[in-house]
């Protein structure tokens, strides 16, 4: 057994909360890679400072995705099986922009998530909550010309994990995003407003600036709520800036 795996069973939420509290001073807008309160990071974070580089060649461009890659129906996670999934249906929509506020158009957005009971349709998820035969939990879409994306899905449940005793993740949806440059690549998690687990969660708290953490929380938006169908959440996503001056060809929709 490796040394830190023993600690997992004896560390309490109070211990983890103390570690989180001790790191509060720094206020960084991106997650700290070296954040031992998230135990799995201990042997997996780089110990040397990231090396500053000027992007070159392919790094100044992002891969192209089009309707050949993504069918419209993939944006609806509730229609992938014969029956309706369990849980509360939600609509999640927002705009992807770069650091200069320009929309990221016709680009790929991917999501994956637990079901309403907090269980992932994944072999390694052994949380004894029911799987839902009508919910796989993955979706894809392309942003429109103005950077908007929209998914129909199920409100995911919070779930326990083994970081420490009685550890629970706040409910979240995983998001994967591309920009116009490869250096804008972002994988993150969207959370729901008012979750009582925020303060306890070392993954969420690894972003030590509270304003930056707020960027990961969707807002309830009644205008997105579909009558007799789903509650609406709005979540806008800001990527890093582009290094490149936009060309007209970037604005054309790929065939």
């Amino acid at each position: 057994m490796r040394k830190h795996s023993v600690g997992r069973v004896t560390t309490t939420q109070a211990d983890i909360s103390r570690e989180i509290e001790a790191g509060v001073g720094a206020r960084e807008q991106q997650p700290r890679l070296d954040y031992p309160a998230y135990r799995s990071s201990i042997l997996r974070h780089p110990t040397k400072a990231l090396h500053p580089a000027d992007p070159e060649g392919v790094e100044l461009w992002a891969p192209c995705f089009g309707h050949t890659d993504v069918a419209d129906a993939e944006a609806d996670l509730t229609i992938q099986h014969a029956g309706q999934p369990q849980g509360s249906r939600i609509t999640v929509s927002g705009r992807v922009v770069d650091g200069d506020g320009r929309p990221v158009s016709h680009q790929l957005v991917e999501i994956w998530q637990a079901n309403a009971a907090g269980r992932y349709a994944h072999l390694r998820d052994q949380h004894p909550a029911p799987l839902d035969p009508n919910f796989s939990g993955l979706g894809r879409c392309l942003t429109d010309a103005d950077g908007w994306y929209r998914f129909t899905t199920i409100q995911p449940g919070p779930y326990p994990w083994r970081n420490h005793l009685n550890a629970w993740r706040p409910a979240h949806i995983h998001f994967s995003l591309f920009g116009t440059d490869f250096t804008q690549r972002l994988v993150t998690q969207m959370y729901f407003p008012g979750d009582p687990l925020f303060a306890l969660d070392p993954i969420f708290q690894s972003v030590t600036d509270p304003k930056a953490r707020e960027m990961l929380i969707a807002t309830y938006e009644h205008d997105l709520t579909v009558p007799e169908f789903s509650l609406g959440y709005r979540w806008d996503i800001v990527l890093t800036g582009s290094h490149r001056t936009p060309l007209d060809s970037d604005l054309e929709e790929p065939s």
Binding site: Y38, L43, R44, G137, L239, T240
Partner: protein, 186 residues
């Protein structure tokens, strides 16, 4: 504007991100096809079985691909993008073509992104073709000491190119930041 913070891909990214054919930029066996492969290792040298690697590269002529079709590949279009999850031995592999130089006199490389459970944000690095100095100078490689520089250079084996990724340790891979992003305050 501040960029949204990253968060780990976690242990269950397999349900959403890897897809069939993601690691086959060209069909195996096609003329000129090589394997780019390696292992992802943690600070104890233990393989990381729940990591994911993405590559983004120019075609053999050095052209940056602008074609869609990386998710539903047609077997003919070279899109330059690939995605591979590591196996239980921490091993990943791609079937692809060797990239050409996007600028004359500069060493060709694969842009590489690393994701894993335990990694709170993605990491960027580059995998250069062997003997990069034969192509010309390179501002990134030339600014590193020899031991660090070697972590960015692939080695040739009987199927193609090998590129191990060390998240920590003496041979820790050089990971990159791009601080001159416009619109981001440091």
């Amino acid at each position: 504007m501040t960029a949204a913070p990253g968060q780990t891909v976690g242990p269950f990214f397999h349900i959403g991100l890897p897809y069939a054919g993601g690691n086959e930029l060209v069909p195996p066996g096609r003329a000129g096809a090589i394997r780019l492969h390696g292992r992802v290792l943690d600070g104890d040298g233990v393989p990381v079985p729940d990591a994911m690697i993405e590559i983004w590269q120019a075609d053999p002529g050095g052209k940056v691909c602008r074609e869609p079709g990386s998710i539903r590949r047609d077997g003919w279009t070279f899109t330059g993008f690939g995605r591979a999850a590591t196996d239980p031995d921490g091993h990943y592999w791609f079937t692809t073509l060797e990239p050409g130089a996007t600028h004359e006199g500069r060493p060709p490389f694969f842009a590489v992104t690393v994701f894993a459970r335990g990694l709170l944000d993605r990491l960027f690095t580059r995998a250069y073709l062997p003997d990069p100095e034969l192509f010309g100078p390179d501002p990134l490689l030339d600014g590193l000491d020899e031991e660090r520089r070697q972590t960015l250079i692939t080695s040739r084996d009987d199927t193609g190119l090998r590129f191990d990724i060390h998240l920590q340790g003496r041979r820790e891979t050089v990971f990159l930041s791009f601080p001159k992003h416009r619109g981001v305050w440091a």
